[in-house]
Symmetry: C2
């Protein structure tokens, strides 16, 4: 039986049984199943369902993303760790400690089962989403025959300058929450639990979700100052999600049915150069106006784009190589992405510039038909390329959701 | 006259005068003076006052800190930039664009006066606090005679491993806000305005304020999982602030009267090692229990510390070299600090570990009598040293507050 409330700390030195109840009580003990979308930013999001949480879940404001290398050679150890991770993730999504005995009830002579920094904080909409990278399907764990064709390594794109040390990985976990401390706590505890079996390969913090995933959300802005994700796939688009987002039976190996493929790209922006580009040029590059986010030639953000509209000068209002034209589904046989990227600032680069940009995350049914052709077109022609550089890349197969507390991350792949 | 409302975007292509009003209206146009402490996390904090905002202001949840090198050799250019910064900072503190013409009203052929990513966001309690580093008082700007004795370089502390490229700096700005996008926007626009006169030396993001600065705030937790800042100086302690925080007439050069000295230390934590330390050891190291944050031997967080209490084993409940004993004012002739540090995670370190810890910020009347002796004692004896490393250091003289819109950052120093 799972102990589903925090035990009490501080019994050692003072023997005071009531110590800690004040702070701990604010992090709710939740037994009822929480809803798929939190009503407030402090509420929990359900960990269970047909699909993993954290994909169509209305994008939370903060991200901690981590990629792991698997260092154990033993398949059983890997599976056991995934089971432990699942149990911890389910608890943390409810705002509980990572371990059943928590930081709270551990004996003084043992390390705590939870690192403690989220004590007193609400669930904060935490979602944890797992993905398996192409490298997991080598000969280490007997998974080669189960590798989906859609998980083929991405091609090399013109202009990219990928750093291998912050690219790829055997496993990834995307933690999204409305409080960065909650997202960081979750990743940190998974890394703690996985010690000796996995090793952190790279990790990325993000803020200011740049792509809304629900029509109930306003469109946020990227660090170029533009609204980003106006025409993103949204959770309300049921038919489109079925067609564009979720892996269907027959798409490939059965274990991915109900799952989705995630592509990550860390896109460094040349912030300082961009900031000296004229407003008109910035708007031409995106194909939208900066304030409202309306397609050029139109008035409102959500007005349909007219790619044939001409300005008073007789030129196309939206330039031939404008970002929204090149990326638009009509340029790619209707291919959409569900994006849920985040802005990042990683300090400065030692050359007097902020190290900042967009950590792009996109989900899709098949990257070969969606991300790859769209990005190839952008990499070749996008006017924006003068101001950005792709420095990290990741591709992960995110399995379907978990049925209940008896299920675990990777069951459909390993069982 | 200052144009104190946003102009409208998007007039170019579509000529729609009403474009943008929806999104922009959510970022309030404020003419009335906002209060010194915001009532909600979206409200503004007053930019003017006897002391700079961002010191005793109840600590906001997010930080973007930046250190600049001055690259111009001309004193006049530096002063002019500080005046431009002040005007931009005053606007941004009210939730307005950085420039009087904003991102909004710029001509299409000119770069925008604001980078745009905070459009539509509320003021979010933004405070911007400026400081001048010891290196500014060399022979470049004729300031040598005005250098306060209290701004003497910090001594070398045992065990520190400072990286010069993320230490020091001629100027710093501490941006605190409840929304990281607002803090990042502010620093980024100051860097944009300062282009050619200053260069970003280093920059640091932080979250989860670890030291409350008001009794109205709960004590937050650092990434070791412990409550941090229980006995911090608080804005309600008027007599203590006068004695410990603010520079008084006669303390040194008159230009610093009403100011305060800021020390920053980036303290990397060996997260993975700490997470495998037994709970009892963790508590002994800090001298507090982990759940409630009570001093060992006591029941509640704010119970007075009894340094003489003994446990059932006859040993001191709070060990001789426990953190709270070594750092306590009673060990340093009553010396206090006003801390307002933040947790940070800067991704991973390439060795399988999270690059995480505490970005420590402390304000005080004289570092020679406060930070230096306290830190020397900690550096020599603190049991915590096994788990931490100081990798960056900064010292800055933060001048008094601004009287009104005619005042500017550095007036008391340069005028």
């Amino acid at each position: 039986m799972q102990i589903n409330r925090r035990k009490l700390f501080g019994l050692g030195a003072a023997g005071v049984a009531a110590a800690g109840t004040g702070a701990l009580a604010t992090r709710a003990m939740l037994d009822a199943a929480p809803p798929a979308a939190a009503a407030s930013t402090s509420d929990p999001v359900s960990f269970y369902g047909e699909h993993q949480a954290g994909i169509v879940t209305p994008a939370q404001d903060r991200l901690h993303f981590v990629s792991f290398d698997v260092v154990t050679k033993k398949r059983d150890e890997l599976v056991e760790m995934l089971q432990e991770w699942t149990a911890a993730a389910a608890r943390m999504a409810q705002g509980k400690d990572a371990g059943t005995f928590g930081a709270v009830g551990g004996a003084p002579e043992a390390p705590p089962d939870d690192t403690g920094e989220a004590l007193g904080l609400p669930p904060s909409g935490l979602t944890l989403t797992i993905g398996f990278g192409p490298s997991l399907f080598d000969d280490r764990f007997g998974l080669a025959a189960k590798k989906p064709a859609a998980l083929a390594d991405l091609p090399r794109f013109p202009g990219e300058a990928l750093l291998p040390e912050i690219s790829g990985g055997d496993l990834c976990v995307q933690a999204c929450a409305h409080d960065p401390q909650v997202a960081v706590h979750a990743i940190r505890n998974l890394a703690r639990i996985g010690f000796g079996k996995v090793s952190v390969r790279w990790s990325q913090l993000g803020f200011g979700r740049t792509s809304s995933t629900s029509r109930a959300q306003t469109t946020a802005r990227n660090l170029m100052g533009f609204k980003d994700g106006t025409n993103n796939l949204k959770l309300e688009d049921a038919a489109m999600l079925k067609q564009q987002l979720w892996v269907a039976p027959g798409d490939g190996p059965a274990w991915m049915t109900g799952g989705s493929y995630m592509v990550t790209r860390k896109i460094r922006m040349n912030i300082e150069t961009w900031d000296r580009a004229p407003l008109g040029e910035q708007q031409q590059i995106f194909g939208r106006d900066k304030g409202e986010g309306a397609p050029l030639g139109r008035a409102r953000e959500f007005d349909p784009i007219d790619f044939n509209a001409k300005g008073q000068d007789g030129e196309l209002a939206i330039a031939k190589d404008a970002h929204i034209r090149l990326a638009h589904p009509t340029s790619h046989g209707g291919a959409h992405l569900l994006r849920r990227g985040y802005n990042y600032v990683d300090g400065s680069d030692g050359l007097g510039r902020l190290d900042a940009g967009l950590f792009f995350i996109a989900y899709q049914r098949d990257p070969r038909k969606q991300f790859v052709p769209i990005q190839m077109e952008l990499a070749r022609k996008d006017l924006l390329n003068e101001y950005i550089k792709h420095v990290s890349s990741g591709l992960f197969a995110c399995p379907p959701g978990l049925r209940d507390a008896g299920d675990y991350w990777g069951r459909t792949l390993f069982a």
